[in-house]
């Protein structure tokens, strides 16, 4: 009989996260992501070249640009990785092994979410520094980080549900999310980008940290639950 025991889920997640990072490091996606993350710096540099003063309005535009990146970066990293694993059938190697299927999703999120957060927040920090030579408010950093985490979870759920063209679909969803968040109706409460802006203090509505955190947890929780439920039943 085979000598080895069923591995622990934590060990599996670590292994999967390590492989995901190794593969990412050897592809082009990381560098393309870095280029996208540099867009706030380009914007801030352009403003500084035209005007000596970097106004509050400029800072607000810079934040909007950063939330736009939430439509792109999670899709580029998490959406593409999850979708390709299922669509390219490399998942057959994983699911024929003694691991919980949700661990595959968890491994990818553990590896890729910090990168999405680092690029989103890093772009925002670099952009504000390039514009105003000052650090942005702490709330904006934490808000953007929370938004990046929630977006990654949402995107992972969608990519499991519709793995084919995972990246394109998740970018599309997040653009709709931006649009919904900009609408002056209660529907905007369902938008990750709206809640991110509120949490970061860049919404026109009065800030409500608790409500925004609950909303982000609820939205990302629903999509994560959908993704986990689907991946447990998925046949390849």
């Amino acid at each position: 009989m085979t000598r080895y025991e069923v591995p622990s889920t934590a060990a599996m997640i670590r292994t999967l996260a390590g492989v995901t990072l190794k593969r990412l490091g050897r592809g082009k996606a990381l560098w393309i992501g870095v280029m996208f993350a540099a867009l706030p710096v380009v914007y801030a540099g352009g403003i500084r070249a035209r005007s000596a003063r970097f106004s509050t309005e400029h800072l607000s535009h810079l934040f909007q640009l950063s939330t736009l990146l939430l439509a792109v970066l999670p899709a580029m990293f998490v959406g593409a990785s999850v979708g390709e694993e299922i669509e390219d059938r490399t998942s057959t190697y994983l699911w024929s092994r003694p691991i919980a299927r949700w661990a595959v999703l968890a491994g990818k999120l553990v590896a890729l979410t910090p990168i999405v957060v680092a690029l989103s927040v890093g772009g925002w920090l670099a952009g504000t520094w390039a514009g105003s030579e000052a650090a942005p408010p702490l709330a904006s950093i934490l808000g953007l980080a929370a938004g990046a985490i929630a977006s990654s979870l949402v995107v992972a759920g969608i990519a499991v549900l519709v793995p084919k063209h995972g990246m394109a679909l998740t970018i599309g969803y997040m653009l709709v999310d931006l649009f919904v968040g900009a609408m002056p109706f209660s529907l905007q409460q369902l938008s990750v980008t709206y809640q991110t802006a509120t949490l970061a203090g860049f919404s026109t509505d009065p800030p409500s940290t608790v409500t925004s955190v609950i909303a982000l947890v609820a939205i990302s929780g629903v999509w994560t639950a959908i993704g986990v439920t689907r991946i447990r039943r998925l046949e390849v």
Binding site: T2, V19, R89, T92, R97, A100
Partner: protein
């Protein structure tokens, strides 16, 4: 209604399929398959689309039966990770984590199969050595030929020392020398007490491995038992062998005068030989490749004649 298996029957066999069916929407994968596998090497034979991969995927825990039941070591492999640690699976498709080197890939797969971190590297190196991939183990899989990919897939399947191996078309596209190596390796695994299921649409590949076969056609088990009975039927029909290489004419010249060769035709970068004696033909192709130093990139058997035999068996009422 889901038929229930007697626990004693289920646990004493490696695989028990009880009236097992699988549909993909309206498309039939396998239909009403009842089969018991106790051990050894068994060849799963059938033309493309017959249901071989579906049956293998159900045994690997990748698919659930739409109706009926299938157990491996008495457990449902789809739901039970414990039984999957005893399974080594090499899929038919070529996609894998191409960004990794062969060693990294096999090490990761060994880890995911439960090999502790401190032993995974050695287990992977041993597995790669067994399939003859040590010289290329630090190269990325992206640049591998089909034969090298097949060997690497086999290494991922055996690295964690499983009891039950599922090899889906492991000889497809493999050059003659590698074919001999892989066949020998699979035989060794069988001799070591492993249970091995090998699928192929080419009888001669299966015949080189085992005399026990399960013939599947249109999702149904058509015959189970000895390969030689099927071979007699097959041999009545010419068998096609396609060799992709840099000098197809060199291979054609070497075979043109042979009495068993019915026809030789050329495709772009390939020669297709129709023969009434595949065993001899494979040997002579290998000899021609070596003597003329031909670089072979793929060797396959687009064996439509097997389908004709299955049609014949079906028309005859099969063996069931």
């Amino acid at each position: 209604m889901t038929p229930s298996l007697s626990p004693a029957v289920a646990s004493s066999s490696v695989v028990v399929a009880d009236r097992c069916s699988k549909w993909y929407g309206q498309v039939l994968g396998v239909s009403d398959v009842s089969w018991k596998l106790s051990g050894g090497i068994i060849g799963l034979l059938g033309p493309n689309g017959a249901g071989k991969s579906t049956l293998i995927k159900m045994m690997a825990g990748l698919l659930l039966p739409s109706r009926g039941a299938l157990t491996v070591y008495g457990e449902n492999p789809f739901h039970d990770p414990g039984v999957r640690r005893r399974i080594g699976y090499a899929p038919e498709h070529e996609q894998t984590w191409d960004e990794l080197s062969a060693l990294e890939l096999v090490t990761a797969m060994a880890r995911l199969a439960g090999v502790p971190a401190e032993r995974a590297d050695k287990a992977a190196r041993d597995a790669l050595e067994q399939v003859g991939m040590v010289p290329a183990m630090h190269r990325r899989v992206r640049g591998f030929s089909k034969g090298m990919r097949q060997r690497t897939k086999l290494a991922t399947a055996i690295a964690h020392d499983p009891d039950f191996l599922l090899l889906d078309e492991p000889l497809t596209g493999v050059d003659p020398m590698a074919r001999i190596d892989i066949v020998e390796r699979i035989k060794q695994l069988g001799a070591a007490g492993k249970t091995v299921v090998v699928s192929s649409h080419v009888l001669y590949e299966i015949e080189a491995l085992t005399s026990d076969i399960l013939v599947i056609y249109r999702g149904q088990v058509l015959a189970e038992g000895n390969v030689y009975e099927i071979r007699t039927l097959i041999d009545r029909h010419p068998h096609r062998i396609r060799v992709e290489c840099d000098r197809p004419h060199a291979i054609a010249s070497a075979l043109a005068a042979e009495d068993h060769v019915v026809r030789i035709s050329f495709e772009r970068g390939a020669v297709v030989v129709e023969t009434r004696d595949p065993d001899r033909c494979y040997d002579q192709i290998a000899a021609a490749v070596l003597s003329a130093a031909v670089a072979v990139t793929a060797l396959s058997s687009p064996d439509n004649n097997l389908g004709a035999v299955f049609e014949y068996l079906t028309g005859d009422g099969g063996r069931r």
